[in-house]
């Protein structure tokens, strides 16, 4: 069953049309990488998928929920969709553990004890089992990003969205975060990743999508996509990314 179905999404900010009819289907367990130049609309598209941006036209269904503008329905959808941002966005006044426990307790109504155990489990999954009581500002960028991933995981989402989650990190720290994501992929998590890590996309994503000027310019199974790009635009983009 398809976990994400987006049909013909259009979105403008004022006079600027950012998404000009984007369609995407993601099956359960699939990992999709989204690449493209700055400003091509990758983040906007991702944010539309969990309703952080409203769409002007098109249809979205995620984890069996139709996209809605009604707050209560939107929250139902968001319970099943995790998103991780480039800037981590942890809650600075809460410890790593409390960051993770907040939504399970307040949204799902999980008892604190159960939430605490779940938080510990999620922290171990990202390799931070011993940092439950650390405040975000005591953690490195890579550790903070892994806590952010754990925070999303604790809601047991049906799909995880990643928006350039390693772009703010040094190369060494990038590796530890990518390793966590790769592990999730192996565990069968459905994921959409906006990324500049071409090697990672090629290795981990089943399918890669190249966005340009608000449309999907080229897409395909990652192996072929990277080894035999068809359009000159993608060829040029891949050349510029490899450097």
């Amino acid at each position: 069953m398809s976990v994400v179905v987006a049909k013909n999404i259009r979105k403008s900010f004022g006079a600027l049309q950012v998404l000009k009819g984007v369609s995407l289907t993601v099956e359960g367990g699939e990992v999709v990488a989204l690449i493209g130049r700055s400003g091509s609309g990758k983040s906007t598209f991702l944010r539309c998928l969990n309703g952080l941006e409203s769409i002007d036209d098109g249809e979205i269904e995620v984890a069996g929920h139709r996209m809605s503008r009604k707050p209560a329905e939107l929250r139902q959808l968001r319970r099943d969709v995790g998103i991780v941002f480039q800037s981590y966005n942890l809650f600075p006044h809460l410890t790593a553990g409390e960051n993770i426990m907040l939504a399970p307790v307040q949204v799902k109504g999980l008892p604190r004890q159960a939430a605490r155990e779940e938080a510990r489990r999620c922290l171990s999954l990202v390799g931070l089992g011993d940092r439950f009581d650390a405040y975000p500002d005591m953690l490195s960028g890579g550790q903070q990003q892994r806590v952010a991933i754990a925070r999303s995981l604790a809601m047991q989402p049906k799909v995880l969205l990643f928006d350039e989650v390693t772009s703010a990190l040094d190369p060494e720290l990038t590796g530890e975060v990518l390793a966590v994501i790769e592990n999730l992929a192996r565990g069968g998590m459905t994921m959409i990743l906006v990324t500049h890590e071409m090697g990672f996309a090629r290795r981990v994503a089943n399918k890669t999508i190249f966005m340009k000027d608000g449309i999907i310019h080229e897409e395909g199974p990652s192996a072929e996509f990277f080894s035999a790009p068809k359009t000159p635009e993608l060829q040029a983009f891949l050349r510029s990314e490899v450097g």
Binding site: Q76, F85, A103, M155
Partner: protein
């Protein structure tokens, strides 16, 4: 004629409870209203935001003394006598609400949008986001200025002396009139204000340093 002695000094000290009573009323009442105002200022509804702005600007634009006179004399237009304490309490509460509301509004606005967004994405309701994510950070941020404004309120209560309410400034005046020793009387008054305000000013400074340190760490 009396000389300035222990009984006179104690008379002023006893009046301190009225200074403190007024302060507590203004701080608690103004604080509760201030919370409401701050929340209305960040509400979605334009009309609510506009009305709130109007109220806050109106109050902030009035000298407190004028507000106090209005609260004291306006009821008599309707043939209602109002106690000096009541008039002073209302004026100080209204005044504090506008200033505390402004302090807290800016603290709420200082929390990055990304914090709201993360909480949204975790399916928290707006109220829970406010309660568990935004407010705790905003409160920490607003602490120094809030304590600082509390000190202002304490000093503002001295205006109530003008409508005859006997807090420490008025008590000092009375003692001064009775003893013809204004210097001793008002030095005592000053010492009392200082004794109450100094620890709070120190607290405010400490809170500010702590906030700055936290800011530097992140």
């Amino acid at each position: 004629m009396r000389t300035f002695g222990t009984p006179e000094f104690l008379f002023i000290v006893y009046a301190l409870r009225w200074t403190l009573t007024l302060t507590v009323i203004a701080f608690v009442g103004g604080g509760l209203m201030g919370i409401l105002l701050a929340l209305l200022r960040i509400a979605r509804s334009r009309a609510l935001r506009g009305l709130t702005t109007f109220y806050m600007q109106l109050v902030q634009g009035l000298p407190l003394l004028v507000l106090l006179f209005l609260c004291y004399y306006a009821p008599s237009l309707f043939g209602v006598e109002i106690a000096a304490l009541t008039a002073a309490a209302i004026a100080l509460t209204v005044n504090s609400s506008a200033f505390l509301g402004a302090i807290w509004e800016s603290a709420l606005r200082a929390i990055p949008r990304a914090q709201w967004e993360s909480a949204d994405a975790l399916a928290l309701t707006p109220w829970k986001t406010l309660r568990f994510v935004i407010a705790p950070q905003a409160i920490r941020l607003a602490m120094p200025s809030t304590v600082g404004f509390l000190v202002q309120i304490i000093k503002q209560t001295s205006l109530a002396s003008i409508i005859g309410f006997i807090e420490i400034t008025r008590a000092g005046q009375l003692v001064s009139n009775a003893t013809f020793e204004p210097l001793k009387a008002f030095l005592s008054v000053a010492a009392l204000y200082f004794a109450v305000c100094f620890p709070l000013t120190q607290l405010s400074l400490w809170l500010e340093r702590r906030t700055a340190r936290r800011g530097a760490r992140t």
